[in-house]
Amino acid sequence: MFTRTRTLLFLAFMVILSLAIVSCGPRSQSAGTEQSITPDSTSSITIVIPEDPPSFNPMVADTGYDSLVMELVLLGMADIDPYGNVFPELAAELPTIENGGVVVDEDAGTMSVTWTMREDIQWSDGTPVTADDALFTWEAITDPVNGSWIPGIDYVDSIEKLSQYSFVVNYNTLYPNYLTQLGGEQIAIWPAHYCDLEQGFIAWDCGREPLSDGPFVLHDWLKGDHMTFHKNEKYYLAPKPNIDQVIVRIVPDDAVRKTMMLKGDADIDMWINTTVAKDLEGSDVVKVSMSPTDRWLMRIFFNLAQKGTVDSSATPHPILSDVNVRKAIRSAIDIDTINSEIYFGLATPVWSEFFRPPYQCNVPRPTYDLEAAKALLESSGWVDSDNDGVRECRGCSTGAPEGYKMEMEFITYPEFGEPLILTQQLIAEMLSDIGVKANISVVEGSILWDQAENGGIEQSGNFDMDIWDDGYPGIDPTDYIWEMYSQEALVPGFGNNVMRYNNPEVDALIDEAYTLDEASRKETFCAIAERLDEDVPMVYLFTTPNAEAYSARIEGIQSSVNDMVTWNIADWTLK
């Protein structure tokens, strides 16, 4: 049975079988029928990201990768640049009060915004982009069954078509963020003649095989492997884009992505952390672009209510409900050391929610002072009487039982990556130096931020302290401040005031912020900043830059906190 010839035959068969599998292996399905472009004759760049974008519509899952590819193929009415300036895309000009685009009814407290669109933009199949597309998009978004929630959706009463290239949006309030309601990093205008409304905004096929009016056209997409985009010959800013082909390659492992960048096999690695940024410093091949302003403010949230409860006045936290304890913790954290040792000096210490233009407030920086921190704790009745390194309540003001230990859970989330994990460990050590024991745990962001009925840790108040980075999108903080600090937002499910912070003065100030008057808004925000600095419902630590690694052969890249790095891909050039 097994003679030598047969063995050889068997081996040969196995080898042939393997080769047959290799040659019949999967191939990428081509979406178009264009002749394939050979790499030598064209300019091509490769962007590496860790996972497939779920679709081209960021409203489906909002992973950031969807916005990245959306910027390649779809336009909105207007977009925001890295410096916070809004610029028109489909719009001929931005509607303002001065040019008559915005009409305010002071008495009713309402406004209407008239958008006039460019008439020279067309979809890649030659159909012009018109007001019908904008109205169609709005109809799809607001569909009660298959629609989606978008910021400010409740402030819009109606949208009416005025002409083929203009329409008016009627608001039931004064909405400061109206410019990017149909634009920005998440919303695009979708083609009415191509997308199927029946399939619904979040599920339609055109979200995965989009028609393009942006600088590039999707050519093929092998799920989990790569996407190829070719230059859109019909782009309205022709001869832009200057690059003929963009490949988006899926590479899950961080270390492999970094190595590919250094080897020149990848041109852009999105959202790198400071460790990677530092590693790439001094490389001739790879440069790092950082956003001119930051958005994500690393902060420690204090739960002012007892762990597991959501009412800070009925069941105050046995340790954290005393503002002096919170101030002591704030004084015990050496932000500069964290910055230099973990973030290589790339982070920026920040001590107010209002740290970036247009709203910057001058709150004095809290000082790092261990002795002051200890003294504060002593004077509030927290003493280490048994010398075990952890303080106990000895006549403390929070109403905790005598002898109650100053021991708390301190949570963070892992998705941020190594720097935050290390930061958490260092802060826990710093707290132990003043006799506060912080027990570290790491919980996925999805669980940390989920709704109370799903066991969301913050919403259900099931924490003492946690640390993560948050910040408002775009340039208007009003909605964000309401969600984070107002008394209405402390009810689980109604907002994000998970500190259960309750200050009527702040509530009144937040109400005042809903106006289009810039000067008075700024004054209001700075008054809020001062109250927050006194009450310390959270400790602001520092902001980390939004950074992208890119190949030195590309020019024109500017990282942004207001959009994905591809926001201006049409302007990039290759050396």
Partner: protein, 299 residues
């Protein structure tokens, strides 16, 4: 008549010691265990940072270098070894606790009990185990019960153990099926011994060989599984070090500071090769017929 336990074990031990690989494995694993136990003798604290000396390469002061917070890597590997070996140990204990009774009951009583228990075993064997492991780890690590705290050693061990008891059940069942018909078992039954006594006192000790061999191999398997889970960030979380999460933490430094990943990997490697050799030696030791004729030829 079966040999007395003492001389029986001595015979096994003698055969075991003739297996060179097993002895080397035994030495290495004992060394690793001892080092892990006496890790507290290290002058360094595994969790306390020392920022002035972060990311140092191996040197006489820090034999295996330091990590991103300046903690001594050797110390962390030793403390991590405690965790990894504990995970392995508890996981095996859990699978033994589930698998052995199921196998024993099925094999001893047969019939309906056997078929129900074996259907359950089949069901578990039909699960794509690593995939379910990922799922369970993802679920359980968010649960906060008194003993199963977030991402704890016990949680991970439980998950691994709960998905690897089936081999024990099958092995023990097979052993019981053959042994229950043996004369000495019938004899003790005739003498009025209770089922429990027969199972625990008479059958189990004679079927124990295969179980021990399998348990040894499962120990290595559990350590690898924990490492794999940690690589996917579903394992034990920092700052508690385990060999798996030490490699995970080293990932972002892989090109620049390779020692951070290489040394914990070597620790896993050495442990598992040793454990496998011990398993191999035990298998030969418990199965004399296979070895006797050729013993000594291994050079």
């Amino acid at each position: 008549m079966i040999p007395q336990p003492s001389e029986f074990s001595i015979a096994i031990w003698k055969r075991f010691t003739r297996h060179r690989g097993a002895i080397i494995g035994m030495v290495i694993i004992s060394l690793i265990i001892l080092l892990c136990i006496f890790a507290f003798l290290s002058p360094f604290n595994p969790e306390k940072s020392s920022l002035a000396e972060k990311l140092l390469p191996p040197s006489p002061a820090h034999l295996l270098g330091t990590d991103a917070l300046g903690r001594d890597l050797l110390t962390r590997i030793l403390y991590g070894g405690r965790i990894s070996l504990t995970v392995g140990g508890i996981a095996v204990a859990i699978s033994l606790l589930i698998g052995v009774p199921i196998g024993a009951l099925a094999g001893y009583y047969g019939g309906k009990i056997d078929s129900i228990l074996m259907r359950i075993t089949d069901a578990f064997l039909s699960l794509p185990s690593f995939l379910v492991l990922i799922l369970l780890a993802a679920i359980l690590r968010e649960v906060e019960l008194p003993i199963f705290q977030r991402n704890s050693v016990l949680t991970i061990s439980l998950v691994i153990g709960a998905l690897s008891w089936m081999t024990f059940a099958r092995l023990v069942r097979a052993a019981f099926l053959t042994l229950r018909e043996m004369d000495y078992v019938s004899a003790s039954r005739a003498l009025g011994a209770s089922d429990r006594r027969i199972m625990l006192g008479h059958i189990l000790p004679n079927g124990i060989g295969v179980v021990i061999v399998e348990a040894t191999l499962q120990l290595g398997y559990a350590i690898i599984q924990e490492a794999g889970l940690s690589f996917l960030n579903f394992g034990i979380q920092q700052p508690t070090p385990s060999w798996g999460n030490l490699i995970y933490a080293a990932q972002s430094h892989f090109t620049k500071y390779p020692w951070l990943a290489i040394f914990p990997g070597i620790a896993i490697f050495l442990t598992i090769v040793s454990v496998n050799y011990i398993g191999d030696g035990l298998r030969d030791a418990f199965d004399p017929y296979k070895v006797m004729e050729k013993v000594g030829e291994w050079t």
